[in-house]
Symmetry: C2
Subunit: 165 residues, 2 copies
DNA sequence: GATGAAATTAAATTAAG
DNA sequence: CTTAATTTAATTTCATC
């Protein structure tokens, strides 16, 4: 009998983690290439990947674009404080911010402000428009602080999985 | 002469932008599926995608993982102020921070602090360790403020390309 | 020159042992 | 798990507009 069949609730084994590490960096590796690196054959590799997808470890596959090439050269981290923190206001804010295409990420955080937004726009002018016409237009917005990104020091979508090995 | 061959410096045409939008959301669409949505046949679709890759519009393809499933349930946005801003110190900080696997993103920003880091760890204890043993150990660190993410309101790797259409 | 149909090659997926 | 068969997609070729 096999002892490498991964039951639903169990932690991942080393081969699974290796697969995740590889696919986090390059999702276009073929099953054959991945199998080679794992020292497995193609079929078990293929089945492990499908299981990782099915169980939700892998949420999806995306293409990453170069923001400068597509005219989204300016990224801004905006911190927001709301005026009031009633449930109703919080839900309203969430709903509205999800609709704004310029907002790529939005996190509700603990600390001296309520939300952190990552906003992608073409230039300072577009950000100004975003701020005045969209963000400031939302109800219940208190202070907004804008932090313009001057340089990307590190930018990765890959989680560190070393701890799992 | 052709006017749909995309020279290096020229802006993208509408079909290119549509391709980028589709692949930003789902990189596993087949050429056939993309072609169908564009109203093209497979060959020109295929060639456009390869050109977008070659010219650097598409930087790569990655799998996105569910952080909770892989035991990276805690994400922290840390803002950092350095003590000194000499060229030497800045370069040293950059070099060291790039080596830390917990740091998924690091931006040099304008404003009342110098860097924003996105740090992924398993739990509060691991963050504590990271802070004390790694971040605080770097030379030249001034104040660090940690903002613990309570909820992901929106989280996307897709840039808004509506402006290009 | 770009296009789409068809041929080829390679990969994904399934089936059998 | 492995190997082999099958299906599907990627890639190339080519005749055509």
């Amino acid at each position: 009998m096999a002892q490498n069949n991964l039951p639903k609730g169990r932690p991942l084994d080393e081969l699974d983690v290796q697969i995740l590490q590889l696919l986090q960096r390059n999702a276009r590796l073929t099953n054959r290439e991945i199998a080679l690196q794992l020292g497995l054959s193609v079929t078990p590799t293929y089945e492990r990947i499908r299981r990782l997808e099915r169980l939700g470890y892998i949420q999806g596959y995306v293409a990453l674009l170069d923001p400068r090439r597509i005219g989204q050269a300016l990224t801004v981290m905006a911190t927001i404080r709301l005026k009031e923190h009633s449930r109703e206001y919080l839900e309203q804010f969430v709903e509205q911010v999800q609709k704004l295409p310029e907002v790529m990420e939005c996190y509700y955080v603990a600390g001296d402000f309520d939300y952190i937004l990552k906003v992608a726009v073409s230039d300072m002018d577009a950000y100004q428009q975003f701020l005045v016409k969209k963000l400031a237009g939302l109800e219940n917005i208190g202070q907004v602080q804008s932090h313009f990104i001057m340089m990307d020091i590190k930018k990765s979508t890959a989680y560190p999985l070393d701890a799992l090995l």
